[in-house]
């Protein structure tokens, strides 16, 4: 797999990152090095092996359906860059 200028742009957009034009070349090179390094893993034959999704063997960590109020309304809003008395405020979103 190779990262092209087009795929770099796509990845940056999906991650909502702005890449300055002068950084593109360096980023491309660095990303491609990383990909090549990780690509080593493709050399291992994984036929018939289930994907590893979790690092522990723990299953069924479930909670009872009980309500707990852990935050106040004020605490909830306090960490946001912008809010009013009721709501979080974000830059205008257009669908």
């Amino acid at each position: 797999m190779e990262i092209t200028p087009e795929s770099l742009e796509k990845i940056a957009h999906l991650a909502r990152l702005q890449v300055a034009p002068q950084d593109r070349e360096k980023l491309l090179e660095s990303l491609n090095k990383t990909i090549a390094w990780v690509d080593k893993l493709s050399e291992v034959d994984t036929t018939g092996i289930e994907p590893l999704t979790h690092m522990t063997h723990e299953v069924n960590r479930l909670r009872k359906d009980k309500i707990e109020q852990t935050l106040t309304h004020e605490q909830a809003l306090s960490q946001a860059p912008d809010h009013d008395a009721d709501y979080f405020r974000v830059p205008k979103v257009i669908d």
Partner: protein
């Protein structure tokens, strides 16, 4: 929009698949303990998990797993034994984590089907359609965005974020708009029976998206599909599909291609229109959610959940016809709401006049509920009162018309009142006992020997005179039907 002729439309086939999101009525959210409640002040039912603060760990609510399994069992699905969650990555301010936690690879329910009865308009005739399900999976709802007019900001309320959802996805089996509406009615009835969702489409606790395409009849390849959103009632889903079918046929007939897009339904115009098209393709980059441990469903879990499930409408319609000998029509009406079906069976434990009970429920009781805007959970009569009223009427102690009007009105919301005592107090009872009536009628006939003789010779219209005398001479009300019968018997003997 130009019109296309019926002849052209009839060359095309409609193909629809539906995605239904149902909010599960758990007390708390799917991965956090904040209240899962509609209508509270904004941003009050939130926690650090719901807000997506760094370093917080979600934990799955066991109740929502059971609810999803119940739905799967009701829809004849296979239940996945090993389940993980996945992250669906996208940015939107009402999704604080930057991903929606959902099930991509291991939906909790796979396959399955629902049989629906669809009909054209108010026609009595219906056709049965089997609609196969692709899957039912668990996921979380997003928050709500509010866009105040003229403001340069958007307001976010995260109370709804983390609300447990099941998404029920059908195969593209729907061929008529009516089948879509009928399917939604069936889904709503089941979630209500199971008590896992209130099924309210207007309030958004049950939402439906439709994937609509058309193709020439006989084609086996599916046409390009268009996704339609924003339909907040069963009726509107049907309207949107009807509109979209004609629109797509027109596009194809004009030689153009169908664009892959999301369209919104406009309730007022009855049309669909394209949403602003997104410039980039959606790329959700699903991957397994490492923060939630996998969960395993065992045989014991399934037996326990199955045992706790109520009888479902499908089974009850059969049962009402078999056990209570009701016509299919009655069975369908009485099982529409679970409370009504349960009430019917409770009354039938006290009286054997099953069809009479059905008539009471479909007649005066349903009219009362409709007029007062109440649901079957708020029955106006106690089970005992209705059973007694049915018994009294069936014994002839009072007529159905008097019972269903006057006695019913007197008993409504008077749970302490006893039906027979109330009927007596209101002087509604009538005598219909043969042993009591026969000697009395003989006595009256004996007073008019000449008329009796004339009657026997053929002056049959004298019966009315005798009836009048009988009614006048009695100190209590007499069942006119029974009196007429006995009178004829005495006169003709």
């Amino acid at each position: 929009m130009k019109t296309v002729s019926e002849a052209i439309l009839s060359q095309y086939e409609l193909v629809v698949g539906l995605e239904v999101h149902a909010q599960l009525s758990a007390q708390s959210k799917i991965f956090a303990a904040d209240a899962n409640r509609f209508g509270d002040a904004p941003n009050t039912n939130v926690s650090v998990i719901t807000l997506g603060h760094p370093g917080t760990l979600p934990m799955l609510n066991e109740a929502v797993v059971e609810m999803a399994i119940k739905m799967g069992l009701a829809c004849h699905c296979e239940i996945s034994r090993y389940n993980i969650f996945d992250r669906k990555n996208y940015f939107y301010p009402d999704l604080p984590k930057g991903f929606q936690t959902t099930q991509d690879k291991t939906p909790i329910c796979k396959g399955g089907y629902l049989d629906v009865k669809a009909r054209k308009g108010n026609s009595k005739d219906y056709w049965v359609k089997r609609i196969r399900l692709n899957r039912i999976h668990l996921e979380e709802d997003a928050g709500k965005s509010i866009h105040p007019a003229d403001a340069d900001y958007t307001l976010i309320d995260l109370n709804r974020a983390g609300t447990p959802l099941i998404e029920i996805v059908t195969e593209p089996d729907i061929r008529q708009p009516e089948e879509a509406a009928a399917y939604l009615a069936v889904v709503r009835r089941i979630v209500r029976y199971l008590g896992i969702c209130d099924g309210n489409m207007e309030e958004g606790s049950m939402r439906c998206d439709a994937n609509v395409s058309v193709r020439k009849k006989g084609d086996t390849k599916l046409g390009q599909k268009v996704e339609i959103k924003n339909m907040n009632s069963m009726r509107n889903v049907q309207r949107a599909i009807e509109y979209e079918f004609v629109r797509q046929v027109q596009v194809l007939e004009s030689g153009a291609k169908i664009t892959s897009e999301t369209r919104l339904f406009d309730v007022n115009s009855g049309r669909t229109f394209a949403m602003r098209t997104k410039e980039e393709l959606n790329d959700y980059r699903y991957f397994p959610e490492p923060d939630l441990a996998p969960f395993v469903v065992t045989d014991e879990d399934l037996s326990r959940i199955r045992a706790a499930m109520p009888e479902l409408p499908e089974q009850l319609v059969e049962k009402f016809q078999q056990v209570y000998q009701l016509p299919e029509y009655d069975s369908v009406v009485l099982t529409d709401e679970r409370e009504m079906a349960v009430y019917f069976e409770q009354v039938c434990a006290l009286t054997k006049h099953y069809k009479a009970v059905s008539n009471w429920l479909m007649g005066p009781v349903k009219s009362y509920l409709n007029e007062t805007g109440k649901t079957a959970a708020e029955m106006p009569l106690t089970v005992r009162q209705l059973a007694d009223a049915v018994e009294l009427t069936e014994q002839g102690a009072l007529s159905f018309s008097v019972a269903s009007k006057e006695l019913f009105a007197a008993l409504v919301n008077q749970p302490e009142a006893v039906a027979e005592a109330t009927a007596r107090r209101l002087n509604l009872l009538q005598e219909s006992n043969t042993d009591t009536l026969l000697p009395f009628i003989r006595e009256i006939v004996a007073k008019f020997p000449n008329e009796a003789a004339a009657y026997r010779k053929g002056k049959k219209n004298l019966l009315g005179m005798f009836m009048g005398e009988v009614m006048k001479a009695s100190s209590v009300k007499i069942d006119p039907k029974k009196a007429g019968e006995l009178l004829r018997q005495v006169l003709e003997s």
